[in-house]
Amino acid sequence: MNPTTRDSRNKRPIRKAPFVVIPAFLLLWLIGVATGEPARVLEQAVQVCLSCIGIG
């Protein structure tokens, strides 16, 4: 890696979009957690859903 190459890469701008998208979905997750959704998800996940896997 030569210095010129490194310099040109360093000039690449920081992309801002991920720093908007990730907190936005983190907020959705927090809202879901606040409504008690994980307990419902866990309730579903610990049961074998036979029709879901094509049996019954």
Binding site: M1, N2, T5, S8, R9, R12, P13, I14, R15, A17, P18, F19, V20, V21, I22, A24, F25, L26, L27, L28, W29, L30, I31, G32, V33, T35, G36, E37, P38, R40, V41, L42, Q44, A45, V46, V48, C49, L50, S51, C52, I53, G54, I55, G56
Partner: protein, 297 residues
């Protein structure tokens, strides 16, 4: 790097399926870890699964939305959407390439020596149809006499569920074999079709039918970790076209929604260091082979 990726795939496969008591309990893991979202397609009715499948959960929550709202519970699937949204924002379809057990199984099958075929690009739009229709619309709209929707993708399509959960549960609980009907046969045929197709084409399920891959693909332009093309260094030699397991023409479409960031183009194909891995615009890894643009043919 390919060796590292394989180890990551195996490790994550074991971490998301680390409950090995099922030969004795004859059922699935029922502990608290199942509140954690699996990053890839990993059926939560798999006996060894220690995480929940985001697709299965979101279909169940949307199917039960009417019932939940009548009981004052606002279960819109936001925690599930938030979980996979954060993963998508961070990694996008890198998860397909590094953390999905069903993708890994397809990769192994593709190693079986045979004549290999491409997949028409048009078929890649099928997965968006499955995401919209089978995961969101049908579970939400088509309800039974109890006011509950069904997990349409899990119930009628998902080959990962048949392989990881349906078949093992039939093996563990012989009494279930009496309940096998057309529903199971339909899913079994779909499983066999995709597994056979995977021998001849690379990752056919990921490319044509996976709703989770379709969701992560929506983040192709905005994800934090992605591959970057240095157009000044690219010679358009098209070497990257020939190694991509997803049929991406990277030099023509560097933010392609099909890119699973397996790094094959960067490490196996590009001789000009035109492809690099970056985090939010900051270079993370660049293969340095001592070649400069001046050495272009």
């Amino acid at each position: 790097m390919e060796f590292v990726r394989k180890w990551v795939q195996v490790t994550i496969g074991f971490l998301t399926n680390s409950s090995w008591a099922f030969p004795f309990t004859k059922t699935i893991y029922q502990g608290p870890l199942k509140v954690i979202c699996a990053p890839g397609l990993n059926c939560y009715s798999c006996p060894a699964s220690t995480t929940y499948c985001p697709l299965g959960s979101i279909q169940q929550l949307l199917g039960g939305l009417r019932f939940a709202l009548e009981n004052g519970q606002h279960y819109f699937g936001l925690s599930v959407l938030g979980s996979i949204g954060v993963l998508g924002g961070l990694f996008g379809r890198l998860i397909c390439g590094w953390a999905c057990p069903f993708g890994f199984i397809q990769e192994l099958l593709h190693k079986i020596p045979s004549r290999k075929f491409g997949i028409p690009r048009m078929l890649s739009y099928g997965k968006y149809m499955f995401l919209l229709l089978f995961v969101v619309v049908l579970p939400l709209v088509l309800i039974d006499e109890f006011g509950t929707g069904h997990p349409w993708f899990c119930k009628f399509v998902c080959p990962a569920g048949t392989l990881e959960a349906g078949l093992p549960m039939l093996f563990l609980q012989p009494n279930l074999r009496n309940t096998i009907g057309l529903l199971f046969l339909n899913k079994f045929v779909i499983l066999i079709l995709f597994l056979t197709w995977a021998v001849f084409s690379s990752r056919p399920f990921c490319r044509t039918a996976c709703p989770l891959g379709a969701f992560y693909a929506l983040f192709s332009k905005v994800r934090l970790i992605k591959l970057h093309l240095d157009e000044a260094k690219c010679t358009n030699c098209k070497a990257c076209h020939h190694v991509c397991p997803m049929g991406v023409k990277f030099n023509e479409s560097p933010d392609d929604p099909e890119c699973i960031t397996c790094l094959a183009c960067m490490n196996k194909a590009c001789k000009f260091d035109a492809i690099s891995l970056e985090i939010g615009g900051i270079p993370l890894a660049v293969p340095d082979r001592g070649l400069s643009p001046a050495s272009k043919p």
